[in-house]
């Protein structure tokens, strides 16, 4: 409230200020009513002093400096005035063609750049702090000393260490340690170093001792040799008969395969008897329609004794008992006589025994032979059976005359793979099929649905 009043009063005191109230009255009132203000107090310096003229003057000076770079009164005459001689003839010079680019020529600067330019001729003041450096003298002195020493060859410790440090060779540890690194170093594995340095019990308890490999694992899984050489008919320039023998083998394989196929076809074939003839067709159509005389079968089966007689009479029971005893006696007698007679049948008994023994021996031998044969056969490990490879042969017209025209048959990779399966080292496997978890749904796109 007081501030507002003060401001109003200050404004009213400015020369040329026209207030609402009449001037005479205001003058009179103000001049009469004006309070005596102590201008010696600092508080009143701002309120009751009029520095408008000074301010104007200073503004004017600043404007001159901004616009023209200095006071106009201090400028030389030449920069302010010029002598007007009159219009000069325009010199006949070839005018440069105006640019055809139009209003948006590249030579024109951007408006924003123009706005952001400094448009006062007063240069911005120098930032003194930017040039100030604490300890500038000291630092300068140190730098000069270091230069002098470096010129003589003495380097600070840090630089010496940097120079001595080798350049960092980036050897990938993982690559060199890998199993298939081409320049992998080998050493004498069977060198015979004593590995057991500590007490075996200690090693076992702390889990540092290597577990012994069971003996059975050292046995080879098959007696077949690792590399089976092909038959002599497989030579690139084979002898006639060995080649024929090999062809015969392949032929046999093909024949068995064909026979198996034929067998399946035969099993599936329709029998000629089952085909419908006219008679059977007619009978089928007619079944049930015509009443035939049914033949009565005499199926009175007489069940002897069981249902009619219920109780056995005493007689019957006695008879049965006697019969039983008699039969038992007969049997005993027969056994006795048999035993006595066996004494005379010794030779034939021996013969039968011999025959039996021979049969068992033969069977044992056969079983052993089968077992031996099985050892060289591939065993059944897993779901799939072992599929032997096709024999590698070349037909008579494919046999090359020379090594140059030889076309290799079969793939050694496949041969090695099959050989490993044959030797029971890996089980035969097939490629895993791609099974979909959810059924595939086919949906028409909306656009197409509208069309169709």
């Amino acid at each position: 409230m007081a501030a507002v009043k003060r401001l109003k009063r200050v404004a009213a005191l400015q020369p040329g200020f026209i207030s609402f109230k009449s001037s005479a009255e205001s003058d009179d009132l103000n001049s009469g009513r004006r309070k005596r203000v102590n201008k010696n107090k600092k508080k009143n310096w701002n309120k009751h002093s009029d520095i408008q003229d000074v301010e104007e003057f200073l503004d004017d000076v600043r404007l001159q400096e901004r616009a023209t770079g200095g006071l106009i009164s201090e400028k030389p005459d030449d920069s302010l005035f010029f002598v007007d001689i009159g219009e000069q003839k325009k010199s006949v010079l070839p005018e440069v063609q105006e640019r055809k680019k139009g209003k948006k020529s590249k030579s024109r600067p951007l408006r924003i750049d123009l706005i952001l330019q400094h448009d006062s001729l007063v240069p911005p003041p120098k930032d003194v702090l930017a040039y100030q450096q604490p300890n500038a003298k000291k630092l300068r002195r140190i730098a000069e000393n270091a230069e002098k020493l470096a010129a003589m060859g003495v380097l600070p410790r840090r630089q010496k260490r940097l120079l001595n440090r080798r350049p960092a060779t980036k050897t990938s540890k993982a690559k060199t340690a890998a199993n298939n690194f081409p320049d992998r170093p080998y050493y004498d594995l069977w060198g015979g170093e004593a590995k057991e340095t500590a007490d075996p019990y200690y090693l076992e308890q702390t889990g540092k001792r290597r577990v012994k490999r069971p003996e059975k694992l050292n046995a080879k899984p098959s007696i077949l040799p690792a590399v089976e050489v092909i038959a002599p008919g497989g030579s690139y320039n084979p002898d006639f008969f060995s080649h024929q023998a090999l062809l015969l083998e392949a032929h046999e394989v093909e024949v068995t395969r064909e026979r198996a196929e034929l067998r399946i076809e035969r099993q599936l074939a329709v029998k000629r008897e089952d085909t419908a003839t006219e008679e059977t067709v007619f009978q089928e159509l007619v079944e049930g329609l015509v009443e035939e005389e049914e033949e009565e079968e005499d199926d009175v089966v007489s069940i002897r004794g069981g249902l009619q007689q219920e109780k056995k009479t005493e007689k019957e029971r006695k008879r049965e008992r006697a019969d039983k005893i008699k039969s038992q006696q007969k049997q005993a007698a027969r056994v006795f006589t048999d035993k006595k007679q066996q004494l005379f049948q010794l030779r034939s008994i021996q013969a039968t025994l011999k025959r039996r023994e021979q049969r068992t021996r033969e069977r044992v031998a056969q079983r052993k032979a089968n077992q031996e044969a099985e050892k060289s056969m591939p065993r059944r490990l897993g779901r799939l059976k072992f599929q032997a490879q096709d024999l590698e042969i070349q037909l008579s017209d494919e046999i090359p005359g020379s090594l140059r025209t030889l076309k290799p048959e079969g793939s050694v990779l496949k041969d090695r793979f099959k050989s490993m399966q044959k030797r029971n080292m890996i089980e035969p496997r097939e490629r895993a099929k791609f099974k979909r978890r959810h059924k595939v749904k086919y949906v028409e796109k909306r656009a197409f649905r509208e069309i169709t």
Binding site: L189, K216, D239, K414
Partner: protein, 559 residues
Amino acid sequence: MGGLQKKKYERGSATNYITRNKARKKLQLSLADFRRLCILKGIYPHEPKHKKKVNKGSTAPRTFYLLKDIRFLLHEPIVRKFREYKVFVRKLRKAYGKAEWTAVERLRDNKPGYKLDHIIKERYPTFIDALRDIDDALSMCFLFSTFARTGKCHVQTITLCRRLTVEWMNYVVTSRSLRKVFISIKGIYYQAEVLGQLITWLVPYQFAHDHPTDVDYRVMATFTEMYTTLFGFINFRLYQTLNLVYPPKKLSALSASLARVVATAEEEEENQLDQFPADGEDLENMEAREKEQKEQEAQNRLFEGLKFFLNREVPRESLAFILRCFGAEVSWDKSLCIGGTYNVTDETITHQIVDRPDIDKQYINRYYIQPQWVFDSVNAKMRLPVEDYFLGVTLPPHLSPFVEEKDGDYVPPEKLKLMALQRGEKHVQEEEEDDDDDDDDEEYNDEVDDEDLTEEKNLKKMEDQRSQGKTLAVKVTPGKVKPWETGSVGNKVRLEKEEKAEEKRLAIMMMKKKEKYLYDKIMFGKKRTTREANKLAAKRKAHEDTSKAEKKQKKAKKQ
């Protein structure tokens, strides 16, 4: 009677086996990891004798492993490494997904790896055990070294396999261990004798490659991983036995090491010691062994002193290897590959191996032969006459050295000729039909006929002999001098054979009835085979006759 009854499938074979899935779960590994572990450790599935018992009543086909084997697997330290690898893959995938490239690099640098050295030591406790199993390893490494270096399998593996195979070939060359070679349609079979072990391996042709789709590459890669480790250690040990530095430098051409090879070979020859018979050995055995050794050494120097040049179209690596193994000097055109020491124009070349029908420029003092000469000479253990292998000549068939014919089996006439050559006989003019002379033809004809006839006669006589031996059980027939072979034969050989036949007859006479019955059965079977062999020989003769007749007709027509 409470729970003390014996339940089914709780003891015995049912508890000794475990199915594959159960084993996998016990080890807490994925199926691929489990298979890899089994391959590395050498644990194979077993087929139980009584499947129904083991499978608890069902006969569904399942893969079974022995429970003790799986329990042994639990102690394997690389199982931990597999699990670490699984974790590593997961972290890497996450880092990739979040596009944290520094993390990716850091993880890659610290990728977990495992070593197989302890597994090899455990599976093959001695060096000889490892040598016995090297066949498989060799074939796999040779196979992988022929693969193309595309990204299908690690290029590093292929490089490593190549290095190991070259080292092995260098060892064989230095130790002169190669014995047999067989060129088949599948690949080339070699057999070498290293430290008393016969090692056979198969090398595929360089230019054959259609990768079949039904081969499991991961399994093969795992096998190769194990085999490369094993192979490397074996190589180191073998080089140690020869006092050579391992790993050898600059082996890519097998030519730069020639100087060193020759030097070491010479050193070895100087160190031959006199051999004294060990206690309890017969003098005969000693002599036999000495003879064998001399033969071996003669064989080792088969091509020594000869200089070969390989033309562009012949399989360079294989031929260079074989020729070097037997002491020859080999070279080839420099533009083909590094290592060709001398050029075509070198005057001192003794043989040039060419596979074309003819060649433009022919030098006088060298033989131009087809590559089969080398292979056949190696198998025959002697330098065969070069005339059969000139350019444009139809080659004799390449016989397999891996076939051993027993008594009475069919022996192809080429092999008979070979054996005769080896024995030192010289058959006059073995040239095939010359278009110039008919006389030569007829001579050859007669000789072949003679040979075959005598063969058949001999076989028949052998049959008769044996049948005689059977019936005349008591009598001792006086020895008959029979004409065994055409040409001059050492008496010694004949006498030896006669002695053997005598001994056989005596043994037959002294047999009991039962044994004789069995012997007769065997003989009957053998006679059958000899009869078939005769038939085949007759067929062969007939075939040759007809072909010769045809050729004669053709010639007549021409003239």
